[in-house]
Symmetry: C3
Subunit: 150 residues, 3 copies
């Protein structure tokens, strides 16, 4: 099963940290917005050659995920499946804001993702994009980006 695909490489230097943030406006209650390009710009501006970039959502009814950015039907199917599994109007919810489902979805997908940086670029798979997942929109939302490395 084990097939090494490349020779390992170690680099060392002073550590660099680059912080940035941006805002976005969502349009529906549940939707996935591709923010790959926005994150790429921050990685480029950071001038960090190797390390990791964190994409963080400081909200409790939204999430960040990595998934396919080729066929928009994938996003439709993912949102539909989540809504069927965890409907907004489930019986027995105590929280009065009608968004208990949004909080569950947020923890299931997670409020952040991290992508490796090599040669000053993010290492995403062929079909991977980074998505902001809105679960209680429409709203104005913020995304924090931090690049750490050398």
């Amino acid at each position: 099963m084990w097939i090494p695909a490349c020779a390992g490489m170690t680099r060392e230097s002073i550590m660099k940290i680059h912080d940035e943030s941006f805002q976005l406006h969502t349009e529906r209650r549940c939707e996935m917005t591709d923010i790959t390009k926005e994150v790429e710009i921050v990685v480029c501006q950071s001038e960090i050659e190797a390390g990791e970039v964190t994409v963080y959502c400081p909200h409790t009814t939204a999430a960040i995920t990595i998934n396919e950015n080729a066929d928009p039907d994938v996003l439709y199917d993912m949102t539909m499946t989540l809504n069927e599994l965890i409907p907004q109007n489930r019986r027995g919810y105590r929280h009065a804001e009608q968004n208990s489902d949004s909080h569950v979805k947020s923890s299931l997908f997670g409020c952040s993702e991290r992508i490796m940086v090599k040669n000053s670029k993010m290492v995403l798979g062929t079909w991977q994009g980074i998505f902001f997942c809105e679960f209680d929109g429409p709203r104005s939302r913020k995304v924090l980006v931090q690049v750490r490395g050398i």
Copy 2:
């Protein structure tokens, strides 16, 4: 959609790593315990100004998540929803310890979270707190905390 919210800033220095751990005792089979203050203390003690803190659960029937720490009803609703989706007594489970549901919940929420550190403080959203999620309690549990940065 793209509205840069702050000018990016890059800092560089020698890398620092600070390790700590603490224990907690859970009281019910499934419950979410706010551990934000415990993590804040570790970040403060680390004297690391910028970087990231990892909160890690070394157990396979528990998890770490970030969600709302204002209204306790959110935690009730989240736990209830998880238990309805993945009941303890699902038919067909082979594992003999009556906690297969706990293992699934652990992987769905994930056994760790990471929060950025800026100006020697964690960067959490207004309503965000860090929670230890017990899925097979009551038990004594351990939480590992590592701060990395400059």
Copy 3:
């Protein structure tokens, strides 16, 4: 609740980053493969004493998770539960490749995990192992590993 389990320790040095990757071949549509040893080898080769290792899956129909590696029945139960919650042939899927369920499962478990490194070794709990989760196999898959630290 708060019982400090060890005295905190801070170390500092030049930052090191070590990159590696390997391939694996999956045999069923949904299966979990233990890749703990493969990751351990990379951590050992990196000669990094303290920090973190990222295990990253560059695919959108697979995932990386940490869970029990003692009783194989846990893996059977986890896979069965996911397949019951999110069946392959759900009504209404638009995506034509018969793998919309795989994309959802990928985002629920997440495409990467991170494990702390101390004394040149991964810090995993007693029962924890690292798993590559195939949700649309059999296929040839790639895993990226990056160790960052001092």
